[in-house]
Amino acid sequence: MSQDALKRTPLFPLYEQYGAKVINFGGWALPVHFSSIIDEHQAVRGAAGLFDVSHMGEFLIEGHQAESFLNYLLTNDVTKISINQAQYTAMCYPDGGTVDDLLVYKLADDRFLLVVNAANIEKDFNWVAEHASRFAGLSISNISDQMAQLAIQGPQAEQILQQLTKTDLSQIKGFHFLQEIEIANISDILVSRTGYTGEDGFELYLANSEAPKLWQALLAANDAIMACGLGARDTLRFEARLALYGQELSDKISPLEAGISFTVKLNKPADFIGKTALAEQKAAGLKRKLVGVELLGRGIPRHDYRVLTAEGTEIGVITSGTHSPSLKKHLGLALINTDYSEVGTTVYIEIRNKLVEAKIVKTPFLTKK
């Protein structure tokens, strides 16, 4: 596909001057890196990095029944969050397979923002709209094309962002946010203490038109911050074992199997889509679960590689795998038969028709210091 046919974020015109290597990322022209994936990864672990994640989708759900609707649509318990609080959650099919994983922001008692994966925007919106019809007075709108998102991540993220705003950022706790904040003389920014890297940091939601200005201001604010592409975003989220839809999660993989059972509140009073199937899955015991694998032999585990026993029986599949820039090991996440999921178990990864020895290891591979 020619790059001209790809969708672009409002930051696209700036990529070149920051040295981006742009690739086709699920139909979007996005930077895989600006300098090098490893350098950008280390910048986020050690100082700060700035990501353009404007391709992510945003839906507004409004109406007096908005909360009831979301509690029916989503597996987590939306009633547990307060205004200016965010929640990580899943959206399931009746059979327990996953439609998407997403963040819910409670903007007001009758107003919520959903942030969904870019590749799923259309599918998700159709799913949300289809089920919204059961609830009176709901307004749902897809504002993905009007909204940009920048993520500033890393141990120095707060300090650098604080240079550009009068709002005291230390008052924003994890998974909380503030609305209509001014940063770098740009008003009306939603500042959320969330991220997808395993580090402290913020996600900033704002109008498309203001996004280039904010990007430039953040990179100019401090020498310690580095422009980062989606390559580093992937290695960072991988080390922190944050699920990526299409790899750890899919319509064939439930949130329980993918190791995000904390998003599934089987005990919440409300009925929700997938509840029966997920409750049955849990009661029967999970047949497969997500584990970490570390290669002992040579090679790198990659998405879709098979996991086998020494005898050659297939027991699972690699969902994501890479060279870990922080740990300098070749690691994978695998969805594996529960019988083989204990830490220390020896398994084999099929790499180009060869079986390479690996062992099950604890995840997340890396935890925040």
């Binding site: 290597k21 895989v32 390559g231 990659r302 890479t322």
Partner: protein, 128 residues
């Protein structure tokens, strides 16, 4: 005989060292496209290959990519230092980051490869 560097359309380079022996690597353009290289599964000494056969796999953080034999022959030496320092391919693709040495029988195969100017044109066209 010519000691001039030649190129393939798949971004390998080959430099003849003697009348029947040549060194092979990937180009600077190729290493830039791949990004940080973290693993090489190289060919083995005594492997017999035809022009166009896969010689091995170079893995960046993002993905695994094959590299190919520019000409036919027998692998006589591999760059073993890449086992521990695959990043040499990024930092020095034409010298320290070489991949294999091949003993070849048909020097005319070299004539079919791209010269430097033709290769630079190929890259320039691809970037348009």
């Amino acid at each position: 005989m010519t000691k001039t560097i030649k190129f393939t359309i798949k971004h390998e380079w080959i430099v003849p060292l003697t009348d029947n022996r040549a060194r092979i690597g990937i180009t600077d353009f190729a290493q830039q496209e791949l990004g940080d290289i973290v693993y090489v599964e190289n060919a083995e000494v005594d492997d017999k290959v035809n022009a166009g056969d896969s010689l091995g796999v170079i893995e960046s953080v993002k993905a695994a990519s094959d590299f190919y034999a520019p000409i036919s022959g027998t692998i006589v030496k591999v760059n073993e230092s890449l086992e521990d320092e695959p990043e040499k391919i990024n930092s020095d693709p034409y010298e320290a980051g070489w991949l294999v040495e091949i003993e070849f029988t048909d020097p005319s195969e070299l004539e079919q490869l791209l010269d430097e100017a033709a290769y630079q044109n190929l890259i320039a066209e691809g970037e348009e």
